[in-house]
């Protein structure tokens, strides 16, 4: 079944907040259309309008040229519109197979769900991604036990099990490693050839240019441009997304740091996922941590911050340290920007001021000198170009990129010596990314040391002095200078690098 859909002048409000003021999108059979925009520009809302999760307040949906109305997700699903949700639509307690076939279970006699068929059909779907799993992914495992990338794949399989006429991929590659992305793109090209329409929502320019045929750009809830991908350059696309053309170029690494003293020495660090990791970091260095997802990068940062228990020796500025609580790490000038901003980084319903000052309140005496706290927070906010109505607004009123600035800001207020960053640009719009890159470079120039994990290889290559590539709990390779290329990084990530083998 093929289908074409167009959304015309769509309006969607959440309470007083206008998420979409004039959104338009055309989706035609047999093509991949990239839905692009900065955070908070209305991409997710647009996809939720198309799949019936939200009901639009204005504008029109046309299916094959005829007006249509989706009062619920059921209506859209019946037409073959399937979605890979950014936040995943999986039930953690249910098995992989039950999740994939939920609402479309093959039934046997008396309406009893045929477990055999459910499992067999799930096996067939899993075969599409065979060879890219790190664990033994079986249909009868509860989803809650899977690592993030496999959850993401199950979410993708769930959507394509519908054999959709329109498939919406909302940030579907965010948790996937390069091999899995490659496989997904092969499949997308295959589906395209059979007449399916694919809506690809992503922040990653490289992926958009690899897979999309057409693009549609949203800015502040308005569609500001659309066209063929082959007719536009990356720079022009970014210009459309952000008002001012703050095209990012990576500030190249700033010269020699060899003469600076070593400030962080880690030897034989072990946790449940790390099996003995050793490295040194010099003062003012920006050291990247790379590799596929879930190779122990998160554990490395968390254990240094005293968040999870570990074995091994850590020396900071010549002193042995072994933090058992983040409080101790904070006292020593460590800061951690965690990977899951919503859960670990922010108190969403509380104000920007409270979030910014959360680690620093003890400096404001008793009773709290609110005036001074506000002034300091204001200052940090301004230096980060934080766009907010007021300090008293809840963090939930901010877009993703601005919310991440609050996370970084709250640590910068403490003047940290060592920053541990866990994928800080995940789900952040390009404009803000460029600001982050400039900020990181500036911080290093000021003598702060940064340990930076990123799932985006381009970032690591563009920004870092060196990159430690983790594989299966070990440092597989250290890439420096001329060796720091995309090719080397990818092959080391996959564990096939020659040389430096440990």
């Amino acid at each position: 079944m093929t289908l074409s859909l167009s959304a015309r002048n769509v309006v969607k409000r959440y309470g007083g907040v206008v998420a979409l003021s004039d959104g338009s999108l055309d989706v035609n059979a047999g093509e991949v259309v990239a839905l692009i925009g900065a955070n908070g520009s209305g991409k997710s809302t647009m996809s939720k309008v198309i799949n019936g999760v939200v009901v639009l307040d204005g504008g029109q949906l046309l299916i094959d040229g005829k007006p249509a109305h989706f009062p619920s997700p059921q209506a859209a699903k019946a037409l073959g519109i399937a979605t890979v949700f950014q936040e995943l639509s999986l039930i953690p307690q249910m098995t992989v197979a039950d999740n994939v076939w939920l609402t479309r279970e093959p039934l046997g006699a008396g309406g009893i769900v045929s477990r055999k068929m459910v499992n067999a059909r799930t096996e067939e779907l899993l075969a599409l991604f065979a060879g890219t799993f790190k664990t033994d992914l079986r249909p009868d495992l509860p989803v809650s036990e899977l690592p993030p990338d496999e959850k993401q794949i199950v979410e993708i399989l769930k959507a394509i099990s519908v054999d959709p006429s329109i498939l919406i991929l909302d940030e579907a590659t965010a948790s996937l490693d390069s091999r899995q992305v490659q496989r997904l793109f092969e499949l997308v090209n295959k589906w395209k050839a059979t007449g399916q329409a694919i809506v690809f929502v992503s922040h990653r320019m490289e992926e958009i240019f690899r897979i999309a045929d057409r693009f549609s750009v949203l800015r502040n809830g308005k569609t500001v441009g659309a066209g063929m991908i082959k007719d536009i350059t990356e720079k022009d696309l970014v210009k459309l997304m952000v008002d001012k053309a703050s095209v990012f170029s990576f500030a190249r690494k700033s010269g020699q740091k060899d003469e600076k003293p070593v400030c962080l020495e880690v030897s034989e660090l072990q946790t449940r996922t790390l099996r003995g990791v050793s490295f040194n970091v010099r003062e003012g260095e920006l050291v990247g941590i790379g590799g596929l997802q879930g190779q122990g990068q998160r554990d490395l940062l968390l254990s240094l911050f005293g968040d999870i228990p570990f074995a091994g020796n850590v020396q900071y500025n010549g002193e042995p340290v072994h933090f058992r609580h983040p409080r101790q790490a904070m006292k020593n000038g460590f800061a951690l920007v965690p990977g899951d901003r919503a859960r670990e980084g922010l108190l969403y319903i509380r104000s920007i001021l409270e979030n910014m000052q959360l680690p620093s309140w003890m400096r404001y005496g008793f009773p709290l000198k609110i005036g001074k706290a506000k002034k300091d927070a204001e200052q940090t906010g301004a230096s980060l170009n934080l766009k907010m109505a007021s300090l008293m607004e809840p963090v939930s009123s901010l877009s993703g990129g601005n919310a991440q600035k609050v996370v970084i800001g709250k640590w910068l207020m403490r003047q940290p010596g060592l920053l541990l960053l866990d994928d800080p640009t995940k789900g952040v719009d390009v404009g803000t990314k460029a600001e982050f890159y400039a900020l990181l470079t500036q911080l290093c120039d000021e003598g702060k040391t940064i340990l930076f994990y990123s799932s985006d290889d381009e970032e690591l290559i563009g920004l870092c002095d060196r990159v430690l590539v983790l594989h299966d709990g070990h440092i597989k390779t250290e890439l420096v200078g001329a060796a720091l290329t995309k090719e080397n990084l990818v092959s080391a990530s996959l564990g096939v690098a020659e040389g430096d083998e440990q």
Binding site: N51, V53, S72, P73, Q74, A76, K77, T83, F85, L88, S89, L90, I91, P92, Q93, M94, D98, L102, T103, E105, L107, G110, G111, I112, V113, K134, T135, D136, L141, P142, E145, K158
Partner: protein, 321 residues
């Protein structure tokens, strides 16, 4: 990567904890009361346990679906007072069965009222059903202000002495309940129930009819409360508008020790049924151990607190590793 964990064991075999407790309670009870498994004792025990078993089965369905029903005791009271006040000690058998039918309708209706508030108006289940529990208890008092009334002695006798194949009647009722549950959880509706209780937003995005499923769980619970009310009326033979008030907490305790998570989406009905039997046995143990009856409340409360704390305790030890 090791996939076998305590947690996943409890997720896949939620009734395991209930079974262990049940066996433990059986052993202690057997030591105190050696004729526990004799036909008469078994029969009299089971007919006393049956009302809570039925109530717990309905409660389990609501809790699996992510809600909770505090009003089940009120529904039991309504059914009890309807039967006792309308049928009467001198009533005919026909009148009894007629009012049994009416009771079931009333139970389903009371459940539908809960379901309407929770599923369609999206009110907090715990507050809403707590409020309706007073509504129902008040209605029971309206029907029968003072304890009294009753049902024909022949019906009470029937409940007491029916033992097909020499086994207690309750065994057959339990078998029907478990059979029905097995069927329900094997159907698509069963999957919907687990999905809605597990993560309602994700279920909605997957086009599961979330509101209808939530509504249905309260109707089922109301219906099961009506069955429970009928059973307890046949057991006691008389009416009392306060009869159900103590049963609500028991039904929730049975569900919790039956391994069905209060957070929803995990568990089943078999565990809660075993949990309800365990609660009854504990009552027996307390009375046979010749200790003051107030111990019973303390023991039951300790069990529910312990059962609630169990997942946390497992987690604590895992963190220490």
């Amino acid at each position: 990567m090791k996939r076998f964990r305590m947690n996943s064991l409890l997720t896949r075999r939620p009734a395991l904890f209930a079974l262990i407790l049940l066996v433990l309670a059986l052993i202690i009870n057997f030591i105190l009361q050696p004729n526990l498994f004799a036909g008469d004792t078994l029969n009299s025990n089971m007919r006393v346990f049956l009302p809570i078993i039925l109530l717990a089965a309905g409660q389990a369905v609501v809790i699996l679906g992510g809600g909770i029903d505090i009003s089940v005791g009120g529904i039991v009271s309504i059914v009890n007072t309807i039967l006792a006040a309308r049928v009467g000690l001198e009533g005919s058998t026909e009148a009894m069965w007629q009012y049994v039918g009416i009771s079931l309708l009333v139970g389903a209706l009371a459940g539908a009222i809960n379901g309407f508030f929770v599923a369609y108006l999206r009110l907090q289940p715990i507050i809403t059903t707590y409020a309706t529990s007073f509504l129902y208890a008040g209605f029971a008092l309206f029907i029968l202000p003072n304890p009294g009334g009753g049902i024909p002695a022949s019906i009470a006798e029937l409940y007491r002495n029916t033992s097909p194949l020499g086994l207690p009647l309750a065994f057959f009722v339990i078998a029907i309940v478990l059979g029905l549950w097995w069927y329900i959880q094997s159907t698509r509706y069963g999957n919907y129930l687990f999905a809605v209780g597990g993560k309602a937003q994700a279920a909605y995005e997957t086009a599961v009819p979330v509101t209808a499923v939530q509504f249905s769980t309260y109707v089922i619970s109301g219906l099961m409360a009506a069955f429970s009310g009928i059973a307890i009326t046949m057991l006691s033979g008389s009416g009392n508008a306060d009869i159900g008030s103590a049963m609500t907490l028991n039904s929730i305790t049975a569900v919790v020790i039956g391994g069905t998570a209060l957070s929803g989406g995990v568990g089943g009905v078999a565990g809660p049924v075993m949990g309800a039997i365990t609660l009854g046995l504990i009552q027996n143990i307390v009375s046979f151990a010749h200790i003051d009856t107030w111990w019973e409340t303390l023991v039951k409360a300790t069990i529910i607190v312990f059962a609630l704390a169990m997942p946390g305790i497992i987690n604590l030890f895992r963190r220490r590793e």
